[in-house]
Amino acid sequence: MKHLLWMMLFSGLAAVVFAVVSKGSGRRRLTYGLKVFAEFLVIALVLGWILYFIPFR
């Protein structure tokens, strides 16, 4: 669970930077930041489940 929280924290902070340096109105930036945050989480979770089923050993 802690790992998920670290990932969420990382995603949130990275999304803040991406949103601030992006162009457009404040509202548009906020939407973009939320989108980036959601993308980070969804992609990480999907990749995590894909890797879970791949036997590396």
Partner: protein, 141 residues
């Protein structure tokens, strides 16, 4: 037309102040925007980069550096992440002088997270630096 486009985006006419602000933004995360009076941006960008950096330290991550021992491909494996780490500016140099964060703590469960946080802090600060530079050069509002 191509010449016009090149001229529009070339560094000719970039004020020297913009280069100084870019350097300040690299050295101290958030400083580039703070100098220009962009308080909210400075706070958001600076706080994000500093928090990511200190979390990297707290999680037991290690900063990369190229040493004389590295040979051939090993240099490249150290060089690329080192470039990412250096992006955070003076905190990297301070850690190097104090020898903090350069020791690999593989016994910690979170050390890979720490490495990722360190790398991300530098890369995010590069973005913040370019943003500060663009604002100072008048290329961005």
């Amino acid at each position: 037309m191509v010449a016009n486009r090149l001229g529009k985006h070339s560094n000719v006419g970039t004020p020297p102040r913009a280069w100084l602000i870019g350097a300040a933004a690299w050295a101290v995360p958030g400083a580039g925007h703070l100098i220009q009076g962009r308080w909210v941006r400075a706070l958001l960008l600076g706080a994000s980069v500093w928090i990511v950096f200190f979390l990297g330290l707290a999680l037991g991550g290690h900063l990369f550096s190229v040493s004389g021992k590295d040979q051939g491909f090993a240099i490249l494996l150290q060089l690329l992440p080192m470039i990412a780490n250096i992006g955070v500016g003076l905190p990297y140099i301070a850690c190097w002088i104090l020898n903090v964060g350069f020791v690999e703590k593989a016994q910690l469960v979170t050390f890979e997270y720490g490495n990722t946080f360190f790398l991300a802090a530098g890369l995010l600060n590069y973005l913040a630096m370019l943003d500060a530079f663009d604002i100072a050069a008048g290329r961005k509002e």
